[in-house]
Symmetry: C2
Subunit: 478 residues, 2 copies
């Protein structure tokens, strides 16, 4: 029987939820099939339902068209089969712009067309530690930080003792991989709601290689992998702000081949009703750039790269016409690990270097001797010097054209960044017969200094002979 | 007839010089052949003489064995043929250690065994501009600078108007490439003497690609190239401190192929009686590291690299078991060119990064708005912030073992450099049962702080969480 459906009216890209009562004996996660067809005019979308414990089943759906949607359920259990109904999909609220999609090869936009430029951060296990006050602190920090995407894991690492897991059980001996833990998911979904209200996309990392034989989650067989993925997607895909990152540092997982990853990504592509963004993230020693996944494969939506060298952004764009998202570029901090101890100045530099070349960067922080430690693992507070500079950069980027590389090719806008190069002047050949304003940007001290006059043709712009300078050249509106 | 021979006694690795009078009519540079055999016991070395203008011919010879050397001249002119004599080769003076040779694959030493570790700089045309006071200033600067090698060109660039050239003439219209200009060479040789007294090796760049069709020196035919090389080597090879750099940025010269360079380097190898160090220097955009010359070729003595990424030092050592000398790694300065505007801090960083990995680096400076400008072109004064840091690094390196990479492998010495990594601590597994001293080095502020106690086994060393730190770990003498 239908317990409830959440709304007669659901906003576009909001979440319709149908709650049903059904069998609780045996293993309903495995044994009960529940799907529904949602129909808008001649468009039909099939979605999976899921068992939420205690005899409760749910079906979630994210409508993308305004108007009447009708649904009908299907199940191998009589109680769950043949339920029908409808709801009205209405205009989205003002802060709901839909899921993020790839736009014009190298960029992103929300489905309503509003521009989206990723300024990501990473907190792999901020929802896993059972510490509500730390999670609230993380959310407070995120509220004031310049980030609009967060990478977070579904699965624990070998050295964690989380109070709840994706699967039933809390230690390797009692984990039952055929049963999921609804309370783990309900907690996670609460945090996804929090992120949604903060305008932060959730880049969900489905697998990772940090299991080391402890939980066995990195070496499940193909059937079990899909069983897990199907449940996650049934529960979470109706959240408009989720992205699927198939794995972190996939190449560190010796139990799976690239063929396995291809198969799993294609599985996600097949069963996700909404075609959320999909990628996979490399780990191999960063100077071996050839270890990057072949992002030209058609099931990959964007390049989720780990590499320390932001200057390679240009070559990644040339090699694959998909957005460049350097999700790990080293972390600001003082960890003793190779990836976790660059300065705030170096992090700021790498953000500018990549973004001026038309890529985007993900932030991370790993101070090990502060009040809260290792933001990348558990969240907490941020201590780094790069945060306010990333906020400054984000303002500048968002004031500019959506595709600043194309705008440069078209002669309307340039963002030149000079990094460690401390020029006394720099020459440019701007188009003749067009006037430009020029602004000097001190990326570290966050000062924008408009130069006097307008500029055009062959110009020689004086620079202060200091590192970390940029120039913004803007066409004068006439 | 013999006009003079400079000494009856010549010190080892000093210069014997025989001066003869001979024909001045026609083109003696081309038409007069003059060679000599110098014999020590059963060892015979053939050297070329050269015409020095005004009917004067010279034969120079650098003896490398103590004792009596005998010589006999050969010529197609009666006046120059059949002169014989002898001199006594005596112990070298205290600052004469002989020519620099490759030692133990990756290092260098003078021929008497004294260690030599290159700390180079570049002043391509400091001897070409006819400005004696600027040349004296350059020598004053070098006297106080931490450099023991200098890269300098034989040939002018397309945008120079030098008062004298290698060849007769001063402008493209009147240059006669079949005749050399002895006064150009006499001036150059004076400067080589100055460098010798300062203990600075002269890395002589024989060709370069900056001619652009102006002088035609980059597009001479094979015969003319060898004619030029033979004269240069006849005049300069008896100076113990010369090195041969066949070309700067050879790959920018579109008139010559790699086969041409192979042939020319082998020609130098064949005619240089003393087998001075030989290499060739790449220019292609620095991120295309594949453009480096194949330094494993047997006629190459060391890897003369242009690249900005000092971290690749390790891979260059692995690829070719010859000394790594990064002769261009970008210049400190404020030029608008890609290669000429890094900060002193970045330059210092690159020196440490390469040297801690067992390579060496050449310095360059290109400030364009100072009293003297572009040290790399014309010398003058040095303004950079890296100079005193390079001096500090040189002291540290010269206090250490000759091959600090091997010493690390043997467990007696480590120089760990952390660059931009700002660790709070760093763990090491040192050999058990051996005691080590540990010193923290602030490479930028030039402070060495010995840590308390001795260390051994698995250790965790506290670090200040700032960039540009290094650790020196030294075995305690027992």
């Amino acid at each position: 029987m239908i317990v409830e459906s959440n709304e007669h009216e659901v906003e576009r890209w909001g979440r319709f939820e149908l709650v049903l009562e059904g069998p609780s004996e045996g293993n309903p996660f495995r044994d009960t099939q529940l799907t529904a067809h949602f129909q808008y005019k001649n468009k039909v979308i099939k979605v999976d339902g899921f068992y939420d414990g205690e005899g409760i089943y749910r079906l979630r759906f994210m409508p993308d068209q305004l108007g009447i949607w009708r649904y009908a359920t299907h199940s191998n259990h009589q109680e769950l089969n043949g339920h029908t109904g409808e709801f009205h999909c209405v205009e989205p609220s003002s802060d709901n712009h839909g899921p993020v999609r790839v736009k014009d090869d190298y960029g992103f936009a929300y489905e309503d067309g509003k521009s989206y430029i990723p300024f990501g951060t990473t907190c792999y296990h901020w929802t896993h530690n059972g510490d509500e006050s730390l999670e609230e602190l993380t959310l407070q920090t995120l509220k004031q930080a310049p980030f609009n995407k967060i990478r977070m894991c579904m699965l624990p690492t070998h050295d964690m003792n989380p109070p709840a897991l994706v699967f039933e059980g809390t230690c390797p001996e009692d984990v039952d991989k055929t049963r999921f833990n609804p309370s783990f998911f309900r907690h996670l979904e609460g945090r996804l709601e929090d992120l949604l209200h903060l305008g932060i996309e959730a880049d969900i990392v489905l697998f990772h290689p940090y299991d080391k034989g402890y939980w066995g989650f990195d070496s499940m067989d193909a059937e079990m992998d899909c069983y897990y993925l199907r449940y996650v997607i049934a529960r979470l895909s109706a959240y408009r702000h989720v992205w699927w990152s198939l794995s972190n540092e996939f190449d560190f997982n010796k139990n799976k081949t690239v063929d396995d990853w291809d198969r799993l990504i294609q599985f996600v592509q097949r069963i996700d009703p909404y075609q959320h963004l999909r990628s996979i993230h490399n780990g191999t020693k960063m100077y071996k750039s050839s270890s990057l996944y072949d992002f030209t494969k058609p099931w990959i939506t964007h390049q989720s790269i780990q590499h320390w060298d932001a200057e390679l952004t240009t070559s990644w764009r040339e090699a694959c016409h998909k957005p460049v998202v350097i999700d790990e570029i080293s972390y600001e901090g003082n960890s003793s690990r190779r990836w976790g101890n660059i300065s705030g100045q170096e992090m700021t530099h790498r953000f500018w270097e990549a973004m001026s070349r038309g890529g985007t960067v993900g932030h991370g922080e790993s101070f090990i001797d502060k009040e809260t430690r290792a933001w990348i693992s558990t969240g907490g507070k941020l201590y780094g010097e790069c945060i306010e500079r990333i906020a400054f950069l984000r303002e500048i980027i968002e004031e500019g054209p959506e595709d600043w590389i194309r705008a440069a090719q078209e002669g309307s806008y340039w963002l030149h960044y000079f990094g460690g190069h401390q020029h006394a002047y720099k020459s440019f050949d701007l188009p003749q017969d067009t006037l430009y304003r020029v602004e000097l940007i001190d990326t570290w001290n966050m000062i924008i200094t408009p130069l006097e006059n307008t500029w055009g043709g062959s110009i020689k712009i004086p620079l202060p002979g200091k590192p970390y300078m940029a120039l913004r050249i803007l066409k004068v509106r006439t």
